[in-house]
């Protein structure tokens, strides 16, 4: 099921709206998540569009498929989709990042979303552009912080990133002229997200912790799934996300690298407001786990990633949100 409020499926932060939305969604944009295994050093984390330190630019194409397997209700209980349901969202994703200054990157991500849904008696097959994201990422470090061993206090210095992302509602949302909630590819709201990430690599291990806080811009709505409605103002609740990733890197005889990433992520979103009044049953939450494998060439020009992100079907692991599993394949090129 394409989550009607989230559109393109949501970002489960370490593995990405999505999405949601969604995203949910968008579902939630290139919501493939960021697994920053040694990102400052050109490692093979999946989904990231972070430019390795000193490199000028990076581009990525990816394909991900998200399948739906029930949902959490407002009490956090797991409920199954109706018998015969088969809900899938496939996303072709593109991301590009360009270094603006030695410590500042700009990035762009977009996606093409294809919905294939059979929900009991209803079938829907639609596709369209997803939400688009523009971002800035500041590197609060001047040199590569990855080390092979700790021999002095400075070796403990981590790589710190601070980001600001703007989501443009370029996808089809429930507030566009769509036939049904199955047809949407985006969430329909502008969003501004502040992110922070701290990462440390002592080869072969990498640990990273990231967090994000998202504010949605309130908007007027006069149409829902193709029907005009009495205009009202809606604002989605603030979203908080956090994730932890542990990685292990193998250096092969060819000097190529293989990296295994394990991640745990969580997000929660406050209830939405309608005409200024809180809609108390619209808050969301989800936890998920990710596993990805990356392979990088010796000069780290090319990185291939294969990822799986799954949510546990257990009470309390989510709230008011679909349970989904996402597989992804990505190809990243770092320009030298």
């Amino acid at each position: 099921m394409t989550h009607p409020e989230l559109g393109q499926q949501e970002a489960t932060y370490l593995s990405k709206k999505e999405m949601k939305k969604l995203i949910i969604l968008f579902l939630l944009s290139l919501n493939t998540g960021n697994i920053y295994a040694a990102s400052c050093c050109g490692g093979s984390g999946g989904g990231s569009v972070t430019i390795p330190k000193f490199m000028p630019q990076v581009a990525k194409v990816g394909l991900s498929q998200e399948t739906y397997d029930g949902f959490w209700n407002q009490k956090g209980e797991v409920l199954a989709d109706p018998t015969g349901s088969n809900l899938t969202q496939t996303r072709f994703e593109f991301a590009y990042a360009k270094r603006l200054t030695p410590n500042l990157q700009a990035n762009l991500s977009a996606s093409w979303v294809k919905n294939d849904n059979v929900y009991s008696g209803v079938q829907s097959h639609t596709q369209g552009l997803g939400d688009t994201k523009l971002g800035l990422l500041y590197e609060n470090f001047d040199n590569i912080t990855c080390v092979n061993e700790i021999t002095r206090p400075e070796d403990w210095q981590p790589a710190n990133y601070y980001g600001l992302n703007l989501t443009l509602p370029t996808g089809l949302s429930p507030y566009d002229d769509v036939d049904s909630s199955f047809d949407i590819t985006g969430r329909g709201f502008y969003a501004l997200e502040a992110t922070a990430l701290v990462e440390k690599t002592v080869y072969p291990y990498t640990v990273s912790l990231n967090g994000g806080y998202t504010l949605y811009k309130a908007r007027m709505i006069n149409q829902e799934t193709g029907n005009y409605v009495t205009p009202y103002k809606k604002q989605l609740g603030d979203r908080f996300s956090i994730g932890l990733t542990l990685s292990y890197t193998w250096f092969l005889d060819s000097l190529d690298q293989a990296t295994l990433n394990l991640s745990q992520s969580k997000f929660s979103e406050d209830a939405a407001k309608i005409n200024g009044a809180t809609d108390p049953d619209t808050d969301l939450a989800k936890q998920s786990q990710g596993l990805s494998l990356g392979y990088a060439t010796m000069d780290q020009s090319w990185v291939v990633t294969l990822g799986l992100n799954a949510a546990l079907k257990q009470t309390g692991a989510g709230k008011n949100f679909p349970i989904t599993n996402t597989t992804s394949l990505g190809l990243t090129h770092v320009f030298h």
Partner: protein
């Protein structure tokens, strides 16, 4: 790729978004608060809908919505696909709206389940089997097509056949307001 080419790429993308087949997304990029519902309000001579109904003991019976209208001051049709938001809406409607309007008939319209049996299962698993709301299994999509309904659509029809509301449930405030004015 040079810096200028990067922004050329962005420009091309934006051109694609604004200038090509994505015009539908303009409602999101530039939201409008213009009220265009005037033409949507309508009066009918009745619903002219007969539909299978799954009653709470699991047996199927036919129901004529026009007959239902004669029994109430109004009827409320809520379109559900048994999703989290649907159940959130239904919970609120059942717990906070229904008790105040005993003269109104409340119906859950299941437009997604392919059979009355699977619809009944969803009703039970959602906890509504004894909630006092009536389940309409829209197998032939009669109600869905007639009212252009989808997930969350809430329709209020008064005894004279006037459609007083046909939009998303949202927080239920509009529904309560309309029912209060009956």
């Amino acid at each position: 790729m040079s810096f200028s080419k990067f922004f050329l790429l962005v420009a091309l993308l934006l051109t694609f978004l604004f200038g090509s087949g994505c015009k539908d997304t303009m409602n999101d990029l530039v939201p409008s608060g213009e009220n265009k519902t005037a033409s949507a309000a309508s009066t009918t001579t009745g619903t002219n809908i007969e539909i299978d109904i799954t009653v709470q003991n699991g047996s199927d019976v036919d129901i004529d919505l026009d007959t239902e209208l004669t029994k109430h001051d109004a009827i409320v049709l809520y379109f559900t696909m048994w999703c989290p938001i649907c159940n959130g809406h239904a919970d609120k409607m059942i717990a906070k709206v229904m008790p105040s309007y005993s003269n109104v008939g409340f119906y859950l319209v299941d437009y997604v389940s392919g059979s009355t049996s699977s619809s009944q299962i969803s009703l039970v698993s959602s906890g509504y089997q004894n909630a006092g709301v009536t389940l309409l299994v829209d197998l032939a999509r009669e109600i869905e097509l007639k009212y252009d309904g989808t997930m969350g659509t809430t329709i209020v029809i008064d005894a004279d056949g006037n459609i007083l509301m046909n939009e998303d449930f949202k927080d239920g405030v509009l529904l309560s307001s309309i029912l209060s004015g009956l």
